[in-house]
Symmetry: C2
Subunit: 309 residues, 2 copies
């Protein structure tokens, strides 16, 4: 058994994850305006979109990267609060992107996390506006972090770049434009790096910024983030063909039905599984210089990859 | 002739406005990714949405408030650059809000500034994504301001609050929900304060923040901004019934056709004009403590009110 495995075996990932998810949920409940605040229906839709479950992987990445980057073994109170803000911000962005992706002019999906999508439960205009309002709430959440203003500005620059036309939204646009086309593996990879990878990577790096990561640590985090960003999408594509709708909580088999390019359609199921395991190795290698405090990040890589089972 | 009128008469507002509009245009051209950057079609739609004319009143308010707030008579180079960033940010937000408002699930408008709206020229998915990507670009533009990080953070907090569910998007949601209803003047006023006023007010206050406005100046700016924010909407409602489609560059008479509550439907045309002139007086009174450097702000108030002729 390697020294790192020993550390990992003594680390109770499930308990850690439950705790961090609870922290993120508490923060989101607190950040979102209540349904008694005007306009009540919009706030209801925003809460429905954000608080309806979800695995909170992005929030977990913020906390894990933050804990791996701290100079001392315990986060200062201000850093702890700031991690809550950053975790909340990435989940708000993720929720907004799902609400807009589900709209009839995009994926036209009616089911998400086992419940009607926002435009089905409310209406299209409210769904669009709920997404439009979740986005600035995310930036406000970062702007309110009680740490050095220069770090706050860095965090906002990072998130804004990751979710704009050269990141998440750009990837979504490429995805829309590529329906019915066969993409090369390179083009597919660029699309996913933007569409899904950019926000996952930003989550990891935000944790590092808040915790004042050294440049060595930031480098490791960047390599780790790139690997798990792709792994996440590969696992998603595999799930789309191997899981059923009830397990997924969203419509299964949609990609193939819509003739969307995926890793499975490009590499096959076995090729996709091989790639997934290579990416996990890459992610774990990137964490070696960070030592035992990276245990939550290592477990998250396993968790992301493990979703294919 | 009062001393202030003397100052105003010697101030060439048209030349000032042309210069500031040009500065804002130059900054927007520079800030928006080119059509050669992937995804090209999305960037084309973003540029189409932002660079297709527009009066740039919000950008002008940023510059005017900045110039009224400077401690010395000349802006430092960094402040000048920061004003460009802030002017660009509010125009990016304004453009995104128009693109989303024009979508079929909202106002379903086909004409804007005399040209096909973005979803007509491109498609609905691209229009939604273009709006989604313009929003973070605005926050990135503020985050990149070369001034004290603490001021940058203040500016971002202000803009995020102004454009979220308790500001611009919230006002839009109330507007959607109130179609076919008769609103009280109070309810109408709250809706407009959020929908249109919040971003106009933010534009004024952003200029103040960038220029390091004193608390007295900020107070005057806040009162001025509240008055012109409302005046803008009243003038818009008057124009909707008095101007024709060619002059407006967008479909005239739409509010009445859709039975939308407006100032004209609530107060009548004459009552609306009276309110407009009261608001102008309020705006001018608020500027008195700022002295002659507020000339551009005073002229902008006249300009906004003058749109009803």
């Amino acid at each position: 058994m390697s020294p790192q495995s020993a550390v990992l075996e003594s680390f109770d990932f499930q308990a850690w994850l439950r705790g961090r998810i609870q922290q993120a949920e508490d923060m989101l409940v607190q950040t979102l305006p209540g349904e008694d605040v005007v306009p009540g229906r919009l706030h209801e839709a925003m809460r429905y979109a954000v608080l309806g479950g979800g695995k909170r992987i992005r929030a977990a990445l913020v906390y894990a990267a933050g804990e791996a980057s701290l100079q001392s073994s315990v986060a200062a109170a201000a850093q702890q609060i700031a991690l809550n803000h950053a975790a909340s911000a990435v989940e708000l962005i993720h929720a907004y992107s799902l609400v807009h992706d589900d709209l009839p002019c995009m994926d036209d999906d009616t089911l998400r996390r086992g419940r009607p999508t926002v435009h089905v439960q409310f209406d299209e205009a409210t769904a669009m506006l709920a997404g439009d309002a979740l986005q600035p709430l995310a930036f406000e959440s970062l702007a309110d972090m009680p740490i050095a203003p220069a770090l706050v500005v860095q965090a906002i620059q990072l998130l804004a770049g990751a979710v704009g036309s050269r990141g998440m939204v750009g990837g979504q646009a490429i995805d829309c434009d590529s329906v019915g086309q066969v993409l090369s593996q390179d083009a597919l990879q660029q699309m996913h790096r933007m569409k899904t990878g950019a926000l996952l990577e930003a989550s990891v790096l935000l944790g590092g910024i808040v915790a004042g990561a050294s440049s060595t640590t930031r480098e490791g985090l960047t390599r780790y983030a790139a690997a798990i960003g792709l792994a996440f999408q590969v696992a998603d594509d595999i799930l789309d063909v191997t899981a059923d709708t009830a397990t997924l909580g969203k419509t299964a088999g949609k990609d193939a039905l819509e003739n969307k390019p995926t890793y499975v359609s490009t590499l096959g199921l076995e090729g996709s599984r091989e790639l997934l395991h290579e990416l996990r190795e890459e992610a774990r290698m990137a964490l070696l210089p960070l030592g035992p405090s990276a245990a939550p990040l290592a477990s998250l890589a396993d968790y992301i990859v493990g979703r294919d089972r």
